[in-house]
Structures are given as structure tokens and as C-alpha cells.
Assembly symmetry: C2
Homo-oligomer: 420 residues x 2
């Protein structure tokens, strides 16, 4: 099918002023006929992916966060000093995620400048829209000696250099993002320096925020204020800052986040593993906080965001009802927490696009054509549409609930086919 409107495709905040790019894209328009029963949907915006953790996807998920980080994650991430290894992983990761419908990816790369630039290049080459951040981390207690920035100033300088290097890749779909890992991994000087860098450059920021009991207690102990308040004081909670997790934000902290125009990458599956609690999507939205979804690869072991939508609905039901049968029902859960499948897909598309300020997430005139087509009739697939049983709403729910990568027949970014 050909959309009536022309795809318009840039992450520039003033896209209407770029007629040259527009003309280039108009000429690239191609006609694709979708078979009957195929759903055309916006591409998925994954707000939280640790790119270097791709090789560990699906492992170690019985461990507490500290062991998971120090035994599995940091040793793996340290290997990306080898840029050849990094490039091989990126060349598998990026097309794999595109095939799953992840048209936009917000990446934590590793601590390495070269590997991070290589990730930006891989996104540009394979056609994925992306924000790519070199991970800054220098705290002698929160990081291993063999995997950190040598000093705070070295960390700020490398982050600055990474911004330039990602921009130099030259794709309008691939932008840098300033990425302090999380407060426990960063000294005050690094956090402050990165806040200043964000103010000076206007480049977006991402970090982990208020994820677990340990994380929150740590921040309170070190800063005397909550994690989000500390991040805000360092100038890191800014317009379109992506705060991953944030499940322990209080109402007051949500007001600050909303007031700054920052948003949350809700990672429902990793909430179950590393957060000790579930993020309250409806409370956050009611407080004016922007919310999108993140897979949190590899803390979340489902790489595509359709699985993330399923998990978002599931954990919202569990937040509403509670988990411990020994408690009385009124003590057990948080009333009015549940979301439905439509809301979950909204988070994974338009919601995430708004958090990151990208002109995608809906198929409508004025936005880039980042989209995917999902078959409902693949032999061997789990989706079944039954005459006289499934209306359009139920069919939609089945697609979000049951589609796997193999059911996604087409994926487009900026109107260009990106699924091989």
C-alpha cells in the first residue's frame, strides 16, 4: 500500500524547514501491496536497550542485580574495547531488532568511544533510527577498576568526543545521547560535568533512575535526597531526558520529572527482576510524566517490544491486584493500576516517541513513516482470526499478544524497507 501522504523523515526539531531531505525521500517512495489480514502498525520505539548486553540476553536472570552486573555484565561490556568484536555484535543486534519491529532504539552503548561510534555506524547502515550513548562511569566503588573512565574529566571529555563522533556519522536518523550509567557508577564531578555538557550542547540525556530499593537507599545515603532529586540538581533531568525504570518515584518526584519535561522508559519485564516493584504507569501519566516502553535488553529477556506490551499489561495487573495471598485484598495491590493492550501499544509507539521527541510513533501525516506490517495468517504462527468471533478490536489484541518476529513481514524506517 502507498500512504496518501508523503513520508517526512528527520529527527530535526524543525523538520518542516528541510525541503531537500523531503524531496530525497519522496523519490524513494515505493508501492508495497499487503496481503489481506495484514496489520499496518507504527514501528516500535524501544527507549532502553543496553546494546553490549545482546550476547547475554536470556541469561543470569535468577541473580540479584549486583551479581548480575559484576559477574555477567561488566566483564562482557569490557570486551567492547575490542572494536572488531563490537562491530560483529552490532551487525547482528541492529538488523535483529529491526526485524522485530524496533524502528527506533535508544541505546546505552559501552564505555568505549570507538565501539559507540561503530554502533552509530551500524544503525545508519542498517537503517535504524537511534539515539546512541557512550556510557559514562567513573565511580571507584560502583564500577570495576578494569571497566570505567579513568577520571571524571576524562569521562566528560570522552562523552563530548562521542557526541561529535556520532554526529560525524552523518545520518539524520542517528543522534548522540549523553549517558551517565546511574548515580552509583558516577562521581559527583562526572554527573556535574555531564549536566553542564547537556546544557551547553542541548543533547538529550538518559540514565537509570530510582530503579530498586538498593538504588534509592544508596542515593539517599550519598546525596541526602532522592535519586531523581539528585539527578535534577546535577542538571540531568531536562526536556526529553529518558529516565529508565523510575518505579520508586514518589508523587513529588513525578511532579519534578513532569515539570522538567523529562520522561520514563518503563521496562516492565526487568521491573520483575531488578526493581523490587512495578512502575505505576497510570499514576505517572496522571502526573503529566511522559512514558514509553523499554525492553531493557538484557535485564529484560524479551528483545522485541510486542513482548514488552504483553509484559506491560501483565505487570500492571499484578500491581493492581498484588501478589501475596497471605495479605488481605485491600492491602495487597494498588487500585486502578491496570492498563490494556491498546494503552501498552500506545506506550511502545507514540508514548515513547513523545518522551524522546522524535517525529514517529503514529502513522499520520506530519510524521515519518516508521512502520511495520504484521501477518495474521502465517503457517506455524499463533495468531488465528475466526469468522464470526474476531472483530477488528480483538484481531488487534491478538496481533499484539501473539505475533512473533516471524509474523512481522515488513518493517520501514523513514519509508524505507529495513527488514531483510
Amino acid at each position: 500500500m502507498t500512504p496518501e501522504w508523503s513520508p517526512r523523515c528527520t529527527t530535526d526539531p524543525t523538520p518542516r524547514e528541510r525541503p531537500a531531505a523531503q524531496a530525497a525521500l519522496d523519490s524513494a517512495t515505493e508501492r508495497v501491496e499487503l496481503t489481506p489480514g495484514t496489520f499496518l502498525m507504527p514501528g516500535l520505539v524501544d527507549l532502553h536497550i543496553h546494546a553490549p548486553q545482546w550476547p547475554q540476553l536470556g541469561t543470569g536472570l535468577d541473580l540479584p542485580l549486583e551479581r548480575w552486573l559484576f559477574d555477567y555484565t561488566f566483564p562482557l561490556e569490557a570486551r567492547y574495547a575490542d572494536t572488531e568484536f563490537a562491530a560483529a555484535v552490532w551487525d547482528d543486534l541492529v538488523p535483529s531488532l529491526l526485524a522485530m519491529g524496533t524502528t527506533t532504539a535508544v541505546y546505552f552503548s559501552s564505555n568505549h568511544l570507538e565501539a559507540t561510534t561503530a554502533l552509530a555506524r551500524a544503525c545508519a547502515r542498517h537503517g535504524q533510527r537511534a539515539l546512541v550513548g557512550r556510557v559514562a562511569m567513573d565511580h571507584p566503588d560502583g564500577t570495576p577498576e578494569w571497566y570505567r573512565d579513568a577520571t571524571a574529566s576524562a569521562g566528560v571529555e570522552a562523552s563530548k568526543a562521542s557526541i561529535e563522533a556520532v554526529k560525524a556519522v552523518g545520518s539524520r536518523r542517528v543522534e548522540p545521547i549523553i549517558t551517565p550509567r546511574f548515580a552509583p557508577a558516577c562521581t559527583d564531578a562526572l554527573l556535574e560535568g555531564l549536566g553542564e555538557l547537556a546544557a551547553a550542547t542541548g543533547v538529550r540525556v538518559q540514565t537509570h533512575c530510582a530503579e530498586s530499593d538498593w538504588h534509592c537507599d544508596y542515593a539517599l545515603d550519598r546525596f541526602g535526597v532522592s535519586d531523581s532529586t539528585a539527578l535534577n540538581r546535577f542538571g540531568l533531568v531536562r526536556p526529553h531526558t529518558v529516565l529508565a525504570h523510575s518505579d520508586h518515584l514518589t508523587a513529588d518526584e513525578m511532579a519534578i520529572v513532569a515539570g522538567q519535561g523529562a520522561g520514563v522508559a518503563h521496562c516492565p519485564l526487568s521491573n520483575a527482576y531488578f526493581a523490587n516493584a512495578v512502575f505505576g504507569v497510570r499514576k505517572a501519566l496522571a502526573a503529566g510524566v511522559g512514558v514509553g516502553l523499554g525492553s531493557d535488553i538484557a535485564g529484560g529477556a524479551r528483545p522485541g517490544l510486542l513482548g514488552g506490551c504483553q509484559d506491560a499489561v501483565t505487570v500492571s495487573r499484578m500491581l493492581e491486584d498484588g501478589v501475596d495471598p497471605a495479605l488481605g485484598a485491600p492491602q495487597r495491590g494498588v487500585p486502578e493500576s491496570r492498563i490494556d493492550t491498546v494503552a501498552a501499544l500506545w506506550l511502545a509507539t507514540a508514548g515513547g516517541a513523545a518522551v524522546a521527541d522524535l517525529p514517529v510513533g503514529l502513522i499520520e501525516s506530519g510524521r515519518c513513516f516508521d512502520a511495520m506490517a504484521v501477518r495474521t495468517d502465517r503457517p506455524g504462527g499463533a495468531i488465528r482470526l475466526w469468522d464470526g468471533i474476531d472483530d477488528e478490536a480483538r484481531a488487534f489484541e491478538k496481533v499484539v499478544r501473539l505475533a512473533t518476529t516471524d509474523d512481522i513481514s515488513h518493517v520501514w524506517v523513514d519509508g524505507k524497507s529495513v527488514k531483510q
Copy 2:
């Protein structure tokens, strides 16, 4: 690969006395070469499937149980009065589940005798090991007028007839199971009559037990005792009775269930939707209760049990840590509740086989060869094994976490290939 030992395949409690069947099977042995990197695993034993709900899989999961039952489920199940419709669904359901590795299925069929017999025939024809139960339900308050047994005695008679009809299908892998839907859908007379039928025939029983706050309150209100105690008084908690859900069992009730030799079909995903709590696997195992996994199609919207394993780990973590960030950590969860991936797969195979008393669930001499082979190298799949990173334990975890139906290359029941 050829197993060293001969497949021995029957659900007869005295299998060693059947040399004729043994000889027939020995002659059917065929040699299959698996490609390197392929995992051979026991077939999955799904202890709780509502076969007639297959067409609604993935829909209505934002609804509370009552609306889900009366708006979606009962109208659909009532359609199975049309045996032709039923046969068409079964001919899709059974091979679909086999392709997902579900070598054993414990089915709730519909309320209809003919449709239930047709389901048993479909299992026999497609080669699935199964327990097939006609659903008995007659309570004027808990069921709609247009979908129930006319009287308690009619319900008992139809259940008796269904036992005979399933046996008459003549497959040693397909057996009947007595299936009162759940106490709220059955009068005392029906529950009592089915308890007597179980005692008289020795046929296994399955039902829902202590699933939700509503279910538990209802039982207490009607019987003056808990749901499991009432079921036990009606003679329905017997050796190898499969009690679905059971998340609200107290320690005392677990002791009764264990004492009777009954077991639990733990349905982790549907716990999140309809149970108001999470079943404590470790508490139950410590109390001597047998536990296996159920998909609870369609209350659980993931049809294969590998997804069920993932969900079992996930909800166990959420039970341990709790969900409500406003509660202090000590009030929030239930310590020592989490299980790992190995335990989850054990539940989905050997655990379930023990609950249902079937000679499957492990690949070892003395059990039937119900198994599946999972590829780790399928183009387009999510599993990646990396040199120098993934040892065998991690590779196993990736298979359970990331395999989809398309990664399952072979499925065998009784040594016979059953995946097309």
C-alpha cells in the same frame, strides 16, 4: 540421534506387563541426526488447557474474570454443541500445540459429550498424549442457562458416558479425566456425584481450586469451609487430581492436598490476570505438594510452555520482591519465593508428569520418549550462542528463555515424530 534405550510408551500404570505394545514400538524406532548446537529436551507437559478457548487466545485480558467468562468464554464454549465447528478447532489446536513442544496436554473440553470425544480423537490422530475431560457444570447461578448440564444427575451421567467414549477412542495415550469446572459452577449434588464416579472408576479428576479472592470468598460463604476443603469433602481431591491455580491455598490446605497425593497446575501468566495473587511454588513443594505448569489457554495468552517457564520465573521474582513501591521492602513481598529457569523447566516436564502420573517428563530409560529438539542457530531466531561467553548452562537458559515455536525443529511422542 538414537537413544540407547528403547522407547517404552504407555500410560498404563503397569507398563512392564505389555510386551506386545513394546514390540510394536521397537519396530517404529527411526534414526534422526540432530545438527550440532541443537538441544534435545523432554517434551512439555501442559497441565491446564481449556481447549475450546483456543479461538479467543489473546483477547479480553483487560477484563475481570466474571466479564471474561460471561462475555467471551461461555458464549464461545457453547458453540461446541456444533461438533463440526469443534472438530475444526481441534484439528488446528492439537497440531499447533504439538509444534510448540506440548507433548502432553491436560484438557478441559467443553460441556458437550460429542465435542469432547472429537477432541480425544484429534489427540489420537495427531499423536498427542492427553487427558481429556468433558466439563461438568450445572449451577443455576454460576453458569448461563444456555450452557450447562440440565441437572446434577444428567451431568454425572454425561461425565460417565464421556469416560467411556474417550476410552473407546482406543489410544493408550489418550485417557479421560473427570472435570467439574469449579465449585461455583457446580451444585453439591454434581460435585458429590462426580466424587463418587472418581472413586468408582479410578479415573483422574481435574478442577480449578482457590484461584481468586472471589472464588475463595464464594466457597467460604457457600460451604463454610475453604474451597479445597470442600472439594476434598466431595471426594474430588484424590491421588493425581490436578488442581489448577490454587494460589490461595493456606499451609493447612497444602498439607491436605499433599496428603491426598493431589497436585497443582501452576499457571503463572493467568495468576497475573485472574488470581489476585501468585502461587508460591517453593512453599508448595516444601509442603510435599506436586507442582507442574499450565498455560491456562486462554486465560494465559502464551500457548507454549517455554513461555510458561519464563513467566513462572518472572512471577516468582515478583512474589519474592512485591510490587507496590509505596510499601517498605519487608512488607512488600514473600522472601524465598523465587525459582530459576532450571526449576521452571523441571515443573514443565518432570513436575507435571509426576502430578498427572504419566511416564514422561524426563529423557531416561524407563520413560516414554516424549521429547523435542530445539535449534539454536535458526536465521531470524533470537537465540545466539557466543564463543567464549556461553557455556552449556547459559546456552540452556537461552533456549528456555528465547526459543519460539519456529526454533523447535522436532517433536516426538512415544518415539514418533509429531511435528509436521
